[in-house]
Amino acid sequence: MSAWIRLLRSSLGLKYLMAGSGLVLVGFVCGHLVGNLQFFLPPPVINRYAHFLQSNPELLWGVRLILLVLVGVHIGTALRLWALNRAARPQPYASPATAYGSTLASRTMLLSGLMVAAFVLYHLLHYTVKVESLNGTPLAFHQLREPATGHADVFAMMVAGFRVWPVSLFYAVGIALLCLHLSHGVAAMFQSLGLRNPVYAPLIQRLARLLAVVLLVGYLSIPAAVLLGRGQNYLRRVVEHTAAALAPTPANPPAAH
């Protein structure tokens, strides 16, 4: 058997694939957070960043493609291992006791993972594809343009999106599930890749929990800030400017900034 076949056939090989894909996805989740936290700087900063990404389609689509393949690998191996694991115990125990010594996060990885997948799908349709019927507000995300440059106004879109509290709540649930997944997943990843020994084991467990908390607070700070009022005035100006730009009258007075 070649190493490749072993990788795809053996239980440990599948775990390497799951952990390896998970590692890159965690890296993305961290990077994505850093990018998003520019929301707390003046609006032009995150808009410039978004414009930079949008104007480099090779880079953007390269990364997207890699992430998509890795999500496929991650879910594929998760389902394959789940099937093998289920087959390994055809007769369940009669005792209602849950697996002794295990955490909730570790027992529910497939469930939390699949719910995260559903959330990611919504997130992509909401802010990337911008399916307007999903955003719960009459504001059309496609039309939000930065007054100074005419580029897509991501800052205004984030404000407009998270101002809708059911949407923010849905994001909070999605992120909480992701963090639950990672509070176990990151530690499991070190274990699966063999990067753990008696000295570092407690450290790794703490690192995983800490990372989960940092991601939770970081990601949730954005909808929370919007619900507390950040960017409302800016959004109003952008909307007025957009409405003025879209107005049919040729004698368009320049929008006041």
């Binding site: 058997m1 070649s2 190493a3 072993r6 990788l7 056939r9 053996s10 239980s11 440990l12 090989g13 599948l14 775990k15 390497y16 291992l81 093998l84 694991n85 289920r86 087959a87 390994a88 115990r89 055809p90 007769q91 369940p92 125990y93 009669a94 005792s95 209602p96 006791a97 849950t98 697996a99 002794y100 010594g101 295990s102 955490t103 570790s106 027992r107 990885m109 176990h184 530690a187 499991a188 070190f190 274990q191 699966s192 890749l193 063999g194 990067l195 753990r196 020994n197 008696p198 084991a201």
Partner: protein, 260 residues
């Protein structure tokens, strides 16, 4: 004290089993769980009933023969002990105790609470050995072993191969067992020549037997009567990855194992 036992009874692998409930005779709280079963069996026998079949041998926690899932936990309520060292004083008078066999596809029931654990033996046969001439003990100091390695190898060697890790794991994974065996030999100089061939052979036999995979829930470590650490699974994962990189066993018939 007296307890009520709800016990799995099954004639053989081909016959479906069911739970039976028995009221025990008067028991001494200082009896081990197995001694309690002896007393119950005596009572069943005098009443002309079939005694409960259960596995046991040393009754001092070193052979790995006793098993049983007691109230949902292999080897009963305590950490770091086997069923034979679980005592009735850990239960209360009048308790109902649920006793089941270890459940896993590779552990078919032989009778009642006895399951066939030969799958673990086959994993050992696949690679749990070193090829050296035996019979004459060499001078101990001719092969220096670092204290840390010796200690760690000893921790792994404490595995008595009972299969509680499999029984406890929600995936019926045998990885703690295999990891302990792989590490015990792989940590010592005598285990080096076959180190990578061993891990590949044992992991693949484990897969062939139909055990599940590890999802790092830690149940195995928590129920292990010898408290074998999850860290050994990481060690096995590392050795298997190195073996893949080395191309160990890539071509059948050609030993590609290279010592570290």
């Amino acid at each position: 004290m007296k307890v009520k036992l709800k016990v799995w009874r099954q004639k053989n692998a081909a016959t479906p089993g069911r739970f039976e409930t028995y009221d025990t005779p008067e028991l001494n709280p200082n009896m081990s769980f197995l001694e309690m079963l002896d007393v119950v069996n005596e009572d069943l026998t005098t009443r002309g009933l079939e005694p409960i079949a259960f596995d046991h041998d040393c009754r001092e926690g070193i052979c790995g023969t006793c098993s049983l899932v007691i109230n949902g936990k292999p080897h009963g309520p305590h950490r770091g002990v086997a069923t034979c060292q679980t005592y009735l004083r850990s239960f209360r008078d009048g308790d109902t105790i649920l006793v089941e066999p270890f459940r896993a596809r590779p552990f078919p029931v032989i009778k009642d609470l006895i399951v066939n654990r030969k799958a673990l033996d086959r994993i050992m046969q696949a690679g749990g050995f070193i090829s050296v001439r035996t019979g004459s003990a060499p001078e101990a100091n001719s092969l220096p072993v670092p204290k840390e390695a010796a200690d760690l190898a000893m921790d792994a060697a404490a595995c008595i191969g009972c299969g509680a890790c499999v029984a406890a794991c929600k995936n019926a994974s045998a990885m703690l067992f295999v990891a302990a065996k792989v590490s015990h030999l792989g940590l010592l100089p005598q285990g080096q020549p076959e180190r990578y061939r061993r891990v590949v052979a044992m992991v693949e036999q484990m897969d062939r037997e139909g055990f599940g995979a590890c999802t790092v829930t830690g149940s195995c470590e928590a129920v292990c009567p010898k408290s074998i650490s999850l860290d050994f699974i990481a060690r096995m994962n590392r050795d298997y990855a190195v073996a893949l990189f080395k191309g160990v066993g890539a071509r059948p018939g050609r030993a590609a194992a290279v010592p570290a």
